[in-house]
């Protein structure tokens, strides 16, 4: 058989169960690839020893015909998830060297189901970024390159840029990500991978370093829709340690993959057609409409007039919550502490000045400003009200349609450094994904084609809260119609 790293998660799972390959073989094959992929900078920490020990334990179980649904599958974990005894940095100098004394609920469920941890994946600092250029541990490079021969380094998207790059480059069978404004779906879209942000409350946030608590959700990035369904089944579920976690059964999402979409009503929101959007994105979107119509769906034009206000709402709500969440980094209990200070106040101020990068500081300052006396009503309260109206708009739309189809991103992967000068331009990357976070909806990006420069483009579907099954159905239909999109060459191993 071909190398274990070429198998999808589902194929690997089946091959492991059938003893055609061992977890140790698969794990070693991935570790060897990671070792040669330093140029991509996808991993902050590689846990080779731990991975081999977990693989051996899985092989022992598999030999006896035992093991969980992910038994022996090597995964990459976004460095926002606390992993017991393994450095968890959130991409920040502030948490360099931080060794959590506990395991996040989501990762503990992956290990419960038999998965193997290859290491911790790079990301934008505290998940604040759309290009993986804000990480203290350096940029992640997209394994895809333009076909123009220029070999420019491109962004893998963000904030889950290590997760998307590692998945696209076959440096893990699948990865975890988190999505606060698009941080799973946007990186998946620009790396030709599949990313799913489930309904807010579907996955526990316990043990995930907090960014904006009313928006953060964990989810998978994987090579295909089925693999995402397998991952989400293990990641999802009620957790009493997260008071916003919802107690309802976790369906068998994989069963929905490949199920008929006949008769589903698909909404196409006219407000997602942006001025200056590349024609290739428009054309791809139209193709997606045709594919779903051909598969038996009914297509409906819908209107979501408040769409343009979603990003401004987000850039009040998210920094406000972040400024509060990140107040905990004080140089006293854990994390970085400045070496120079004269009193407790300068200890705090110098620690935070050194420990946080520019984008994180910018957002903390915005958040502090919009929450400060005299501005709270004008900014934060107003944003929460507009959020409610955006939410209501979706509730209304979902009385008429089952799924909403949009592009995932307004452009393909851009060059590292191309957009880092203007924060607002960078924020616009999440224009199609951020509404899903504000309304708490499940959404997913699926690769649907390549642009003129050979770079992947994704389409996004949004579904009703807790209707991930219909989401997976629709995503699988698009995946099937789009066909295989190829994969990047291993240029980085040279």
């Amino acid at each position: 058989m071909s190398s274990a790293v070429d198998l999808s998660l589902a194929e690997l799972r089946d091959a492991l169960k059938a003893k055609k390959v061992s977890s140790r073989e698969a794990t070693d094959a991935y570790l060897a690839r990671i070792d040669k992929a330093g140029a991509l900078n996808a991993y902050v920490t590689v846990t080779a020893e731990k991975a081999r020990a977990m693989a051996d334990a899985s092989d022992a179980k598999l030999a006896k015909g035992e093991g969980g649904p992910l038994e022996g599958a090597p995964l990459g974990i976004k460095d926002l998830f606390c992993t017991e005894g393994v450095q968890s940095t959130a991409g920040s100098r502030m948490l360099k060297g931080f060794l959590p004394p506990y395991e996040s609920t989501v990762t503990s469920q992956l290990w419960r189901d038999g998965a193997v941890m290859l290491g911790k994946l790079n990301m934008d600092e505290f998940a604040m970024g759309s290009s993986n250029e804000t990480s203290y541990f350096g940029n992640v490079v997209n394994p895809w390159r333009r076909t123009d021969g220029g070999n420019a380094d491109l962004t893998p998207g963000g904030s889950s840029g290590g997760s998307s790059a590692a998945t696209a480059a076959r440096l893990c069978a699948a990865a975890t990500g988190t999505d606060t404004g698009g941080s799973i779906r946007q990186p998946a879209s620009v790396t030709g991978t599949v990313g799913v942000k489930p309904t807010y409350g579907r996955c526990s946030r316990w043990g995930i370093v907090a960014f904006a608590s009313s928006l953060d959700q964990a989810g998978p990035i994987a090579r295909d829709v089925r693999d995402c369904a397998i991952m989400l089944k293990s990641m999802a579920g009620h957790d009493p340690k997260d008071s916003t976690s919802i107690d309802r059964p976790v369906p068998d999402y994989e069963a929905a993959v490949g199920a008929s979409v006949k008769g589903l009503k698909i909404g196409v929101p006219r407000e997602y057609r942006l001025d200056g959007m590349p024609s290739e994105i428009e054309e791809l979107w139209a193709k997606g409409v045709d594919w779903l119509r051909d598969a038996g769906c009914e297509i409906l034009d819908i209107s979501l007039p408040l769409t343009k206000y979603a990003l401004p709402v987000y850039y009040i709500v998210a920094p406000a919550e972040a400024s509060s969440n990140l107040a905990r980094y004080d140089g006293v209990r854990y994390g970085h502490r400045a070496s120079e200070f004269k009193d407790i106040k300068s200890l705090y101020e110098n620690t935070r000045a050194e420990g946080f990068g520019d984008e994180v500081k910018r957002r903390i300052l915005i958040g502090t400003y919009v929450l400060s006396a005299g501005y709270y009503d004008a900014y934060y309260l107003r944003a929460q009200k507009v959020r409610k109206r955006i939410f209501d708009e979706f509730v209304d739309a979902f009385t008429k349609v089952d799924l909403i189809l949009t592009p995932s991103t307004p452009s393909a992967a851009f060059g590292l450094g191309e957009k880092s000068d203007d924060p607002v331009q960078m924020y616009l990357n999440d224009v199609f994904t951020v509404t899903g976070n504000l309304a708490g909806l499940p959404g997913g990006s699926v690769p649907a084609g390549l642009d003129g420069q050979g770079l992947p483009l994704g389409l996004q579907l949004l579904a009703r809260p807790f209707d991930e099954e219909t989401l997976f159905k629709g995503m699988a239909a698009i995946e099937k119609a789009a066909g295989p999109q190829g994969r990047p060459t291993d240029w980085w191993t040279s």
């Binding site: 506990y102 009313s214 008071s243 006293v332 101020e349 400060s372 107003r382 607002v424």
Partner: protein, 99 residues
């Protein structure tokens, strides 16, 4: 709305982030750029709309009033201070706070 250098100084103090004098003006420009873009929310009619803090429509769950076990439980001071930059006998050490 534009923010000036003095506002940045005040906000940075509230946020407990030391900002060097020569960064105040550039930051005022960056923050003003973001805030001006956010201003468009004033176009939206929010009369009579409830503010939404969470999309989860449930009250806070109750739990028995007992000591938790496991990682959130008590009796594990070693683990609590295991990542602290400076400790002494399970206490966090900070510069003198009260004169």
């Amino acid at each position: 709305m534009s923010v000036d250098k003095e506002t940045v100084r005040k906000v940075a103090r509230l946020a407990r982030i030391a900002v060097p004098e020569d960064r105040l003006q550039p930051l005022a420009g960056e923050l003003s750029g973001i805030l001006n873009w956010i201003e468009q929310l004033n176009e939206v009619d929010v009369e009579g709309v409830d503010a939404m803090a969470s999309t989860v429509d449930v009250g806070l769950p109750m739990r028995p009033d007992t000591t938790a076990t496991g990682p959130t439980g008590g009796g594990q001071p070693d683990r609590v201070v295991s990542n602290a930059p400076k400790t002494e006998d399970h206490f966090f050490v900070v510069p003198k706070v009260v004169e």
